[in-house]
Symmetry: C2
Subunit: 338 residues, 2 copies
DNA sequence: TTCCTGACCTAGAACGTTCTAGTCCAAAGG
DNA sequence: CCTTTGGACTAGAACGTTCTAGGTCAGGAA
């Protein structure tokens, strides 16, 4: 049986010892060369490296992290369905790498609970866990925080032991309201996020800003998905005095709102203005150029990593609040008869 | 210094040896208990387990996988920006778990190349790699396949050593064309995928199906994103004889097409029908109920896992072609004057 | 008594790295 | 001549598991 076709050496990948044997040196020396640390002459360095390349040596990250006192691993949970989480994860990769850390990512989805995702990270022995938009209760957070340092992104922490990085939702929604009012709108409605993380702050921000401008604080129940936005808007268009502007809980919700309007041939922004929240890819996507409140993903990711490392270094847990900003694109404009 | 607040035992998580010491037994016995394998009495089993729980013991997956001959780990690369990949990953988790395997996921994004993602998986020593919608060249695939068994999902493999699971794109687009023609359309256009994986097959499927129905095989250049779809549609609406139906490369592209139409106050499906491809969450999302060609994510994921394990068991690489099916929702209907 | 059997448990060697504590040897300093 | 220095290299012990090859002990058979 002439087996071993070029494929599938999976079971028998070369190890440090294999390379060492081939080069006639100790494994320790090969390790030194592969890690690029001082302790080997240039000549051997080059020789060993070429032999390793030729054999197709790839270091075993598992063994390495097991041996090292610190795993230099940041665990991240994210929601597969949230476009904004995708943006965050991408930037977390680069931010972590900049500090010499690896990322272990663990997905949350309808069929995979946040709890399961966190457990997987714990088993990977990450030094710190970063939870994107966590929906865990305070008690669950507290319990988890006893097992691993915890940092929340895009969610406020009510728990002492947990750090967090999020933008100021009250202020963000305020910016949206300011923008709409400055365009001349007086009949604004907020399609809220229901029980989603952050929904309370955004609702509060809306009510506060409305008060500032002396307009009625009109809030209707919504939710974090397109469906929620569409449903809420469907209920609004038939009201006796429909709103001239909608502040949606987030971009997905806003997308739903836009769709409901479009399907009723109500023009945006001529008849109704709509503004989202997140500046996720949805905002610059299908509904072409949605106005929204931007949470800078790159900045958040950078703050998350430095915050996480600070926690590791023994720093006290703390809260980083970023300033969101308005991105006025093409779904907002003056009200009909202004 | 009274240190050690309840948080951050990260550096000093209890090990098997700690639990063993506390219980007054050997580490081997604790291992037996934690793995739930025969070799311990019910009494000790319960005692050890309760002690472990109390100490907050969590096994170190790294050490375990290092020791085990097979890592029982499936590596997966996916694109953070593709909603359909999210669906696939979710189902891969459950499919892998059903076979006693773990998943190591590694993201691809604009700032993180597929190559980097695959390297990370190799370092994790996964036994097999599953690449979702890979954009690697045949040469790159061949090279990677010499280091780890490879299975492509949602992409055809032209390379001998690589397995693949994908739906029949030619047939799928054919279904879309059949559907539209049966509704009465005769002026169909295909907004293609440019150089994206699978674009060739879908284009070919469109031309073939058009031929079957004796309608003109009209194809315009598009791409895989909303932007591409919107741009292509913008060019079409002003043509002397605009299409009555659009077959888009995928759902994102279709979303762009829809948006371009909506912005010009062209009603869907009254004036123009639009059909996507993928049945990703976009299809049931903002543009409420897009007609599309469904690639069953759960089925694909299941086939991917069994295909990957087959490869591991020494099976020959092979191609699994799934049958897509039509999901007629509300963006397709009869043409204007039919 | 003596031997077997099987249930329960343990010692110690892996796995592939990194790290600590060296050894060895040539060149420089006395 | 002997010592010191420091650069190049190595032996061997970790890291936290799992696995192999036992060991011990009670109870039943002879």
């Amino acid at each position: 049986m002439t087996d071993a076709p070029a494929r599938r050496p999976a079971a028998s990948r070369p190890t440090l010892a294999d390379v060492a044997r081939a080069a006639g040196v100790s494994t320790a020396l090969v390790s030194i060369v592969m890690r690029d640390v001082p302790g080997a002459s240039d000549a051997t360095r080059e020789r060993v490296r070429s032999i390793a390349d030729e054999m197709g040596y790839v270091r075993d990250e598992r063994a390495r992290k097991l041996r090292q006192s610190s795993s230099r691993l940041i665990g991240v949970t994210f929601d597969l369905q949230q476009a904004f989480h995708g943006d965050l994860v991408e930037h977390l990769y680069t931010a972590a790498a900049a500090h010499g850390y690896d990322l272990a990512i663990s997905a949350v989805a309808p069929s995979r609970s946040e709890d399961v995702a966190v457990q997987a990270l714990l088993r990977e022995r990450c030094e710190v866990a970063v939870l994107l938009g966590s929906a865990l209760s305070d008690d669950e957070l507290r319990a988890t925080a006893t097992r691993v340092p915890l940092l929340l992104v895009a969610r406020r922490s009510e728990v002492d032991d947990v750090s967090s990085v999020h933008s100021d939702d009250v202020e963000g929604v305020g910016l949206a309201v300011d923008h709409l009012v400055s365009l001349g709108h007086r009949r604004l409605v907020h399609v809220d996020g229901g029980t989603a993380p952050g929904a309370d702050d955004r609702r509060r921000g809306f009510v506060l800003a409305a008060g500032r401008h002396d307009v009625e604080p009109w809030v209707v129940p919504g939710g974090p998905t397109e469906h929620d936005g569409a449903r809420a808007m469907a209920g609004l268009v038939d009201s006796p005095a429909p709103p001239t502007a909608v502040v949606a809980f987030n971009d997905r919700c806003a997308a739903g709102v836009l769709d409901a309007l479009v399907r009723r041939r109500i023009d945006v922004p001529t008849d109704v203005s709509v503004i989202g929240y997140d500046d996720s890819r949805l905002a610059v996507g299908p509904h072409a150029q949605m106005s929204t409140i931007s949470q800078n993903a790159a900045e958040m990711a950078e703050c998350a990593v430095t915050g996480a490392l600070d926690l590791l270094a023994g720093g006290e847990p703390h809260e980083v609040v970023l300033t969101p900003h308005l991105v006025a694109r093409s779904t907002t404009g003056p009200p009909p008869q202004a």
